[in-house]
């Protein structure tokens, strides 16, 4: 439907004109809307319910492996998730502390309702951004070329028509969703919220392929009914840097007063209850048709698929400071409500548990992500961007990471500027988007550090180094913050040079340090950097032999120490990245006729023709395209340029 047709409908009226309309105010939509407005564009953000803006309908936590890195990347680009999470955290821990800096991952428990309110307040205070509770039922676009459309606006259920140059759709799990508990199926969004109707049909109308996925969430229990003495208690940590670089550079730290989490193991009774009721599971009876995630199986899935495991660990996490609701991580299920009660009460300490919200599985519509460009713009409807679960991902952080990129690029599209693409060597955000748009996914896609081939470089500590220049370029990082960023890395370099250039001879103090580190005493003069490079030796430990050490902040020390300790491996990684970048820079013209390229295998021809990759690097990652096909493509591209060399 185009805007003229929309306005000609009965009761339709023109409600506003914007540069960018963002549909859906979850973690993707909030970042997208904030980015557009901060870039100076007139932006409107639609949500089905204003009180559920930036909702955390599943885990009350943000961060974790790979996800913590993404939050940091969003912040480095000038996004909001990290700042809001820092305000609302009630417990924080650094995962993988002992496993090398590339996989250090912060994870924080959130006060769920505070998170929603804080984000709402932040967006309400953002200049140029209007927030509106409304049910958007259609994206409006006119046919601009053969089978290609261009966005003109959006329309709501109440027949309000909003003109917009670009639209960002972040529909989460709401499009045509239904929740399932055993035999009971309800047409509903998550958390009992209204679902989105009509929007997916509107997208399908333009020829965008629609897929259906499934995910789920566990029960919430009142803590007053829990006997915590039967559980393992897990405290927060204090020496964890906050998510936001701004907060970190301002010297802010995690709050002293943190809430504990708990853990228990399932019992034989749990297993029996589940086995006795498997015939009532919608997964096994065939009611659920959507594809669920492998990394997040329901508890009944775990018992069925891993028969030799007799018990599973369950974590009990607080939902906030002013509520007694507790979240049962690892206990997601789609079994009926009456079975859920028996299952929960089979857990130690939860014998008398009072359930406040029941667990459910949810099915929802999404689009085929391989119909997207790496900018997250649709190849079918220009000016239409999508981010988050609508693109097949899972997780708040993955949504936010796509949201900020979709926002930046929608804004640039509205301004007539080229898209910004984060590549696989720049961030997890780049890996995530490239995987989705190049390979697609057949289950909700969760980011994992092992998906990143340049993991040693994609660290929590250096997200600013990787992405803050981009954030500054697009206008999301102001000059003041950018200046501080540059000064930080100046001190990193100075300290690195000082440590590499300072040599010390043997001394009693050095002997003491080496003994502490269980390291061999150097026989002759050695640089401070060489000492740090030794296994078991840290920057902090060599303080006694480093008399002229300047006063530096933790973030600078961390960066210098990592650069020195992992220097050889980082150098190898850098070489790999350089090779990767070469192919990323070879742009494939949009009008390339793959059918006419001699030497391409038939499968490669078909795949390339369908996917229309933007550069040779992306082409090389399409399944079914071989290295020989890529060689042929390179020669072809070069001959098009006139054989002028590379």
């Amino acid at each position: 439907m185009n805007i003229e047709q929309a306005l000609s409908e009965e009761y339709a009226y023109l409600a506003g004109e914007y540069d960018v309309a963002v549909v859906g105010a979850g973690h993707a939509g909030c970042e997208a809307a904030h980015a557009c407005a901060a870039m100076g564009l007139k932006t409107i953000l639609f949500t089905l319910h204003l009180d559920s803006l930036a909702n955390l309908p599943c885990n009350p936590s943000i961060g974790g492996t790979a996800k913590g890195q993404i939050v940091r990347e969003v912040d480095a680009l000038g996004g909001v998730m990290g700042k809001v999470a820092d305000e609302c955290l009630i417990q924080m821990r650094m995962l993988n502390r002992t496993k090398g800096p590339a996989v250090h991952s912060p994870r924080a428990q959130m006060d769920r309702s505070k998170y929603s309110v804080t984000m709402k307040g932040l967006l309400e205070g953002t200049e140029g951004l209007d927030i509106r509770q409304a049910h958007v039922t259609a994206v409006l676009a006119k046919e601009s070329a053969d089978g290609i459309f261009a966005v003109e606006g959006v329309m709501t259920e109440s027949r309000a028509v909003y003109k917009a140059k670009a639209a960002v759709v972040c529909s989460g799990t709401y499009m045509e969703s239904r929740t399932i508990r055993g035999e009971v199926i309800i047409s509903s969004g998550p958390d009992g919220l209204p679902r989105s109707e009509g929007l997916s049909a509107s997208l399908a109308g333009y020829g965008i392929p629609i897929l259906r996925f499934k995910t789920g969430t566990p029960v919430r229990v009142n803590s007053g009914s829990i006997d915590f003495t039967k559980m393992q208690r897990q405290e927060g940590e204090h020496d964890v840097p906050l998510f936001s670089f701004d907060n970190e550079m301002n010297g802010r730290t995690v709050p002293a007063d943190q809430s504990p989490c708990y853990s228990v193991w399932t019992t034989d009774e749990t297993r029996e209850v589940i086995h006795d009721n498997m015939d009532r599971s919608p997964l096994y009876s065939g009611i659920i048709k959507g594809t669920g995630p492998r990394y997040c199986p329901s508890i009944e899935d775990k018992f069925v698929k891993f028969k030799d495991k007799t018990r599973h660990q369950i974590f009990i996490e607080p939902m906030g400071r002013n509520t007694k609701e507790m979240y049962l991580q690892g206990f997601s299920t789609s079994l009926p409500e009456d079975v859920q009660v028996k299952m929960v009460r089979s857990l130690p300490g939860l014998e008398k548990a009072v359930i406040q919200r029941s667990a459910y599985a949810i099915e929802y519509d999404l689009i085929e992500p391989t119909t997207l460009k790496p900018s997250l713009e649709s190849k079918i409807v220009s000016g239409l961007f999508t981010a988050g679960q609508i693109n097949g991902s899972s997780g708040y952080e993955e949504a936010a990471g796509q949201g900020i990129i979709a926002g930046i690029n929608a804004g640039r599209y509205a301004k007539g500027e080229d898209a910004v693409i984060i590549d696989r060597s720049q961030g997890y955000i780049g890996v995530l988007i490239d995987d989705l748009v190049t390979k697609g996914t057949n289950e909700p896609y969760r980011m994992m550090t092992s998906r990143a081939e340049y993991r040693l470089f994609l660290r929590y500590d250096n997200a600013d180094l990787r992405l803050t220049p981009t954030g500054h370029d697009v206008g999301l990082i102001d000059d003041e913050r950018y200046g501080r960023f540059l000064r930080k890395y100046d001190s990193v370099k100075e300290e690195y040079d000082r440590l590499s250039g300072t040599y010390i001879g043997p001394s009693d103090e050095l002997a003491a340090v080496m003994a502490e580190a269980d390291s061999v005493m150097p026989s002759s003069g050695v640089s401070l950097a060489d000492l740090i490079r030794r296994p078991g030796v840290s920057y902090a430990m060599i303080a006694p032999v480093d008399k002229d050490r300047p006063a530096l902040t933790e973030d600078v020390i961390r960066a210098v120490e990592t650069d020195i300790k992992y220097e050889g491996y980082l150098k190898l990684e850098k070489e790999k990245i350089d090779r990767f970048k070469k192919l990323e820079k070879k742009i494939i013209p949009a009008d390339t006729d793959y059918q006419g390229i001699t030497g391409l295998r038939l499968e490669a021809r078909q795949k390339l023709d369908k996917m229309r990759p933007v550069n040779v690097g992306q082409a090389s990652r399409i399944s079914g395209v071989s290295p020989a096909d890529i060689s042929v493509l390179l020669v072809y591209l070069d001959s098009r340029k006139g054989g002028s060399g590379v």
Binding site: F306, M448, T598, R601, S639
Partner: protein, 466 residues
């Protein structure tokens, strides 16, 4: 471009082989293993890097690790962009024997000049604008054909076996990797194995398997390029008689006149299923006859190129003559045969044996070709030489391609490093990265892509969830 190299004359036997290398600084890289004896410009004190474009030199290639010379060669230097590929290039014309070629290629790989991909010289030439535009399609067809040939080769039974073996080892490595990745991705999870010993064990096992395969290339090379067995000896020691016996017909002219054979004669056959080229040579002696002297020089070259040297000693040969003539041949590949045993024993046999044992030659037998006494010793010597080339290989699978060999050797090095990283406590992230790069190497043989496989392995092995 990073430098790459390949044999540009067809594999198998040919008089002269040409090895080409292309890329930034190839001359300076290769100069580390070459002593220039004389340039076409007449200089005798030049280095390879001193050559001008299109200038050639005569020189000697060394194995820098072993410190011995491999071959005397002619090297031509091409300055960028005036070369086939448009990059700096060198062409090495060496002797045709497969041992020599492989040695030179191995030395170049060790120096960091990697094996060329199918069609890479032509492709590079094209990209650098050295080929006509109308040739573009031809180039693309060359690449496509090369890779489909490689694909065909990989579909052969032997390749299938090799791939299966490597795949087994890869599976172990993916197992180790998934243990590490589980620890990283799901640190709070109860399945998280904190078992570094188990991982180290897997890495060491995998390394051993790859190493055995790498060692088997010594055999694989013999299978693809034929084992070259040179028959050497003083004039009239029965060399041609032996060749004719092996051939089953009169391949060589046999007379009682010493020095009858003046050129080297070759005969291809199979011994116990091993493809062998026997080379009959001119007898080694001091001579004033110019033609015969040239024959003697060829004999020396044949000995150098051979995988195995049968050194024939007739009953009448003197100890001094015999021992003088054998010096200069790598003793490890020499097998001494006392010939014409029907005519009586060489009176100096014990003395000869004692002296040559001191030289490092360990194998002595006697044989009479005419009376067919102990002639089976020939096939015994050939098959023993083949077996010992395999070294540690117990898997009955043989690596046939030098590209595969280089990849397996590289993977071994990385697995050693991965163990060192774990033991040095440098972190699971680094260890994982090193294992991945080993799998990248083996994946170039089996076609498996780490990033595609890893996540599946994790999910299939561990029970995880929120």
């Amino acid at each position: 471009m990073e430098p790459f190299c390949a044999l540009s004359t067809p594999a198998g036997l040919s008089g002269v082989a040409v090895i080409r290398a292309s890329g930034d600084g190839v001359a300076s890289i290769v100069s580390r293993t070459v002593k220039v004896l004389r340039t076409t410009g007449g200089r005798t004190d030049a280095a390879l890097t001193d050559l001008k474009g299109y200038e050639s030199c005569y020189g000697r290639i060394f194995d820098p690790a072993a410190g011995r010379s491999i071959d005397d060669v002619v090297i031509t230097f091409f300055e960028a962009p005036h070369s086939y590929t448009g990059e700096e290039m060198i062409e090495i014309s060496c002797h045709g024997g497969s041992a020599v070629r492989q040695e030179i290629l191995r030395v170049m790989y060790d120096l960091g000049i990697r094996p060329a991909q199918p069609g890479e010289f032509t492709k590079t030439a094209f990209i650098n604008g050295k080929l006509d535009l109308t040739e573009a399609e031809a180039v693309m067809n060359v690449i496509a054909a090369d890779s489909s040939r490689a694909l065909e080769a990989s579909n052969t039974q032997l390749m299938g076996k090799l791939c299966r073996k490597i795949t087994e080892v890869e599976d172990q490595l993916y197992g180790a990797l998934s243990l590490i990745e589980m620890m990283i991705e799901f640190p709070e999870h109860d399945d998280t194995p904190e078992n570094a010993d188990r991982i180290t064990g897997i890495l060491k096992d995998a390394r051993r398997s790859f190493y055995e395969l790498h060692k088997s290339f010594a055999q694989g090379r013999l299978l693809t390029d034929r084992m070259k067995v040179a028959i050497l000896g003083l004039p009239n020691s029965g060399k041609s008689t032996l060749l004719n016996y092996l051939a089953g017909f009169d391949r060589a002219i046999v007379t009682d006149v010493p020095g009858t054979t003046r050129d080297t004669l070759e005969f291809n056959t199979e011994v116990e299923g091993i493809p062998v080229t026997f080379v009959d040579t001119a007898g080694i002696r001091q001579t004033d006859d110019e033609i015969e002297a040239m024959g003697v020089r060829l004999s020396w070259i044949a000995a150098k190129e051979a995988d195995l040297v049968l050194y024939l000693v007739s009953p009448e040969a003197s100890c001094k003559e015999v021992c003088d003539a054998v010096r200069g041949i790598e003793p490890g590949k020499v097998r001494v045969l006392f010939t014409k045993s029907d005519e009586g024993e060489n009176p100096a046999a014990d003395e000869i044996t004692e002296i040559l044992k001191e030289e490092g030659i360990t194998d002595f037998s006697s044989v009479s070709v005419r009376e067919r006494i102990n002639t089976e010793v020939i096939s015994k010597l050939v098959s023993e030489a083949y077996d010992s080339a395999g070294g540690l290989n117990s898997s009955d699978i043989t690596v046939l391609s030098s590209r595969h060999d280089v990849l397996l050797k590289s993977a071994c090095g990385k697995l050693d490093e991965a163990v060192a990283v774990l033991e040095g406590g440098l972190g699971e992230d680094v260890c994982s990265q090193v294992i991945r790069s080993a799998l990248d190497d083996s994946g170039q043989i089996t076609g498996r892509v780490v990033s595609d496989e890893l996540v599946d392995t994790i999910f299939s092995k561990f029970c995880i969830g929120k």
